[in-house]
Each structure stands twice: as structure tokens, then as C-alpha cells.
Assembly symmetry: C2
């Protein structure tokens, strides 16, 4: 739960630091050990998850659960599971047949550090582990099943994988996508998992339907803001700051918000999303300060 400091305000930085440390510890514990067979597979799985990462999705689980006074121990499994799905998707997205990326979080990608077959398998095994983890959540069985379904739907053809398929189809044909098609692509590719993180936190907190609807509006805007900012950073940034190869979107003629809207309008869209984030969180008052901070981060981050 978010720390309450003098005057009833939430100490956002302290909460964030605690949640990040909590997520890292839970992920480390959930992953198979380096000293058991098959070691190369286990090493690749750990490389994919533990060498960096912002842990934004786990923090969303904790911050949303905290709104409803859900104890962090009830939230760990969902936090781990959503990050494992995110990590596996990066491993597969980086493959030569997909985005062909050699650098991720300032480290060699899994197929570079290991080999391509191991990268395919490590991603596959991380996905399985995510569902094993979430099924172990210390919550009522009916709630745990809702978590499994929320995660599975967000990860699959109607969510993240579907968005990645739309992205592949759009690559090299930037101008053939409308802005609403691009937003739909990202609503699936990155938005679905971010919405799942928020929804899982809320489900564990037994949120009512009204609260779920507000939080889903927040999460949808957050996912989109994150992507618009990502596209802007790819144009503005350099590889050292980003920890990945900059300028790849333009080189691959990817459909991006700056490519379709121009940089000025892309920044305006980000401002608009920022207002939606604030509006969706308004009903929760000061308790939503950590979620608001995550929104600010998505909008303003430099890497």
C-alpha cells in the first residue's frame, strides 16, 4: 500500500521504490535457478527479465491494488505475471524475423547473447511461467481465474499478439495507416497488457464496476501516451540514453505518431492524453497519486 505521510498525502517516491524492489525480488524468486538444467534456457530467461526494465506494469498492479487497500503480498503474483508476459514479448519482438534488434535496455538481446532457438524457447517458457505464477496468486480461486483470463486475453490474438501482427503488416507502409488505425494497433500491442496490469490490481482489490471503468480509461490513455512518447523518443533520442537502437522506426518506415501527425501534433496528442489521465483518476482523489505519477512518467520520460 502507498505510504501515507504527514497530512494524508501519499509519498509517491517511497512507494514506487518499494514496489520496484518488491517486483524485482518476486521476479528473481519466480524465475528458474541458474544452477539447474537446462541451464542455458534458464540463463536466457533470467537475462530477458532481470537485466533492467522499468517495471512499469508491476508498479501499475501495486499502485492500483493500493487504491483499494490490497496488501502487496496479494499483488505480487499478478505483478510478476504481467512483467513475464512483457519480457517474453520483447524477446520475441527482437528476433531477426521480427524487429531484428541487437540491443535492449543497454544489453545484447537474448538471441544475440544466446542464440535464436534459445530466444524462441526462453520467450515461450516465460509465457508459461506467467500463467503458472498468476494461478498461484493468494486470492479467492474465482478471482485468480479472472486474473488468468485477463492476462490471457491481453496477451493473445485479441491483445498484444494481435497488435504485433498489425504492426508487422504496417511496417514498410507507414502512410497507408490512418491515425485511428495506428491508435488501434497500439491499443492492442502495448495497451492491452497495460490495461491488464491495472485491471488485475483492481480485481484483487475487489473494485466495483464503476471504479473498473474509470481505471480502464486511465490505463487505455496511459498505454497510448507511453507509445506516443516512445515514438517521439525514437526520433529525438540517442541510443546511449535509450538503451536501444534509436532512429529504427524511420529506417524501417514504421507507422509512428510523428510520421503520421508530425512532431508538433504528436506532442499535442500527448498533452491531450495527459488531461485524460488526470480526469480518469479524479474520482480517486489523493490516493491515486502513484497512478498519476506513473502517468506523468509515461508522458515526460526521457528514455
Amino acid at each position: 500500500m502507498a505510504e501515507i505521510v504527514a497530512g494524508g498525502a501519499v509519498d509517491v517516491d517511497a512507494s514506487m521504490a518499494q514496489w520496484r524492489a518488491r517486483a524485482d525480488a518476486a521476479l528473481t524468486a519466480a524465475l528458474p535457478a541458474l544452477d539447474t538444467a537446462p541451464r542455458r534456457l534458464h540463463a536466457a530467461m533470467r537475462h530477458a527479465v532481470l537485466l533492467g526494465g522499468k517495471r512499469m506494469r508491476p508498479m501499475l498492479v501495486y499502485a492500483t491494488g493500493a487504491l483499494f487497500d490490497a496488501a502487496p503480498a496479494r499483488l505480487d503474483a499478478a505483478a510478476v505475471a504481467v512483467e513475464l508476459i512483457h519480457a517474453y514479448s520483447l524477446v520475441h519482438d527482437d528476433l531477426p524475423s521480427m524487429d531484428d534488434d541487437a540491443l535492449r535496455r543497454g544489453q545484447p538481446t537474448v538471441h544475440i547473447a544466446f542464440d535464436e532457438a534459445t530466444a524462441v524457447l526462453a520467450g515461450d517458457a516465460l509465457q508459461s511461467l506467467a500463467f503458472d505464477a498468476v494461478a498461484l496468486a493468494p486470492v479467492e480461486p474465482a478471482v485468480a481465474l479472472q486474473l488468468v483470463r485477463t492476462l490471457a486475453e491481453a496477451a493473445g490474438a485479441a491483445g498484444m499478439c494481435g497488435g504485433q501482427a498489425l504492426d508487422l503488416a504496417a511496417t514498410g507502409a507507414a502512410k497507408s495507416l490512418s491515425i485511428s488505425e495506428l491508435e488501434q494497433l497500439h491499443a492492442l500491442k502495448t495497451g492491452a497488457l497495460i490495461r491488464a496490469a491495472v485491471r488485475m490490481g483492481a480485481l484483487i482489490g475487489h473494485a466495483d464496476d464503476t471504479a473498473l471503468a474509470h481505471l480502464d480509461r486511465y490505463a487505455a490513455a496511459l498505454g497510448l501516451a507511453f507509445q506516443v512518447r516512445d515514438d517521439i523518443l525514437d526520433v529525438e533520442g540517442d541510443s546511449a540514453t535509450l538503451g536501444k537502437t534509436a532512429g529504427k522506426d524511420a529506417a524501417q518506415a514504421k507507422a509512428t505518431f510523428p510520421a503520421l501527425l508530425g512532431m508538433t501534433h504528436a506532442r499535442e496528442r500527448l498533452d491531450e492524453l495527459s488531461r485524460t489521465l488526470a480526469d480518469a483518476l479524479a474520482p480517486f482523489g489523493a490516493a491515486a497519486a502513484p497512478l498519476a505519477a506513473l502517468g506523468d512518467y509515461a508522458v515526460r520520460r526521457a528514455h
Copy 2:
């Protein structure tokens, strides 16, 4: 439930035909439609699952559940889920970076019929769909969670993916594996999912621990028998009968039972497994006839 014919014997062929049809119908219904976006991904998923396949794992779910009078409608979700995991694993195993197979079930593999990126994504989405499906099983929530965990553990690093990783490491180094290492490899690579199919049927039927232990011995022997027979067929068979490229194991210097034991001893091992199958099923009497028939099939099949 298996059909009881005159004299109390089980009409195995009729049951098998019903279960196969039931599995095909349930799989067709579970897969995303061809006429919704992203169509190419959906088409690849359907190609992977619906163009053939023996449905051995779904039949194991139905046949095991029938031992405990579990209604087929309670078993469909687990039957679908285990086949979706199996199908996704074949798509990824066939990738150029893995076994590099162009033919599967007499059809072009997914990366040939579509493209490599789509094959990666279709496999990923099929795995997600498996967990969505099994979480929807019309059984008590606590049982459904056991199914999720059974499937996740069988699919992941401690099961199928782990076995595939051991297999990759062994390829090209046939003589460096002992026979017990080879059996361990297959216990994970193909055995884990077959054991999960049997266990899920038994869990849905509320089997007690003694029954679970007998059935697990059956399933472990079945998985191994299936693989020994597969290796023998790769030596004996031709591509047209097998529906996949024959002789690939030797060409790739794969560790196989014939390579390690010679053909005569490989066939003897199969006979031994056949006796284990009969022994493990003995406590269940005539009701286990469909499981016995599946064992006979694994041992004797020509493709």
C-alpha cells in the same frame, strides 16, 4: 463418457471417433475467426491447429475423464487447451532456427505457408489462447486453477520447453547422451504434456491420489512409447506416409533411441513400455479400454 456396448465392454472405436469429432469441433470454435482482424494471424493459428493432427492429447483428456464418469462437456476446455499448447510447440519447433521443417501433417509448416514472424506470433497467441480456454473450464474454480497450473508447468521450462532446450543441446552430439539422459529429455519434451492431458482428465473427474499415481505411470510410459515409436518411424518410414520429412533425425545427427540402442533394442524397449502401460491400467479394469487402445496406438502406429 466411453460408450458401453452389450456385455458391459466399452466400444472403443465409437468412443474414439466421438472424442475426436468433439475435439475438432471445440478447437474450431475456440480459434479466432478468419474474417476478423488480424486475419493473417488468425489464418496462421487455424492452419497450425486445424489441418490435421491425431488429437491424441484431447483423446487422453476425454478417455481419462470417462474413467471417472466426467461428462465430456466438462472436459472440452482441457482437451482444447492441451492441443493448443501442442500445436503452438510444433509451429515453433518447425522454425528455421529450430528444427527447420517445411512439412508437417502433409502440409507446409506455418512459417512456409505464411512467414517466419507470423509463425512466431501465431505460436505465441496459441499459447495464450490455451490458458484462456482452460480457465473457462466449467468446473469448480479450485479445480480450474489446478488445470491452469498443471498445463503451465507441463508447458514451461520444467516441462516441454525445457525438453526442447535439452534436445537442441543434444542435436549434433548423438553419442554424448546416455540412454537415461535421452529418456529424461523426452520425459520433458513430449512426456510432460501427455502427462498433463491425463492428469487434467483425472482432476476434472475428481480422481483420488492412488488413481492419479497409476494414471501418471501410464501417461509417462505412453509418452516415452510414443517417442520411441516416432524415432523408429523416422528410420523406417517414408515422407509420404509420415506426412513429414523422414530420415531427418539421422541427417541432423539427433540423439534417438535407434541411434543409441540400435533398432532391435529400441523395439524391445517399446515392448517393455507396452507391458508397463497394461500394468498401470490394470486397476481400472475394462473401463480403461480406450486408454489401453491409445497405448496400443502409440506402440504400433505406422505414422
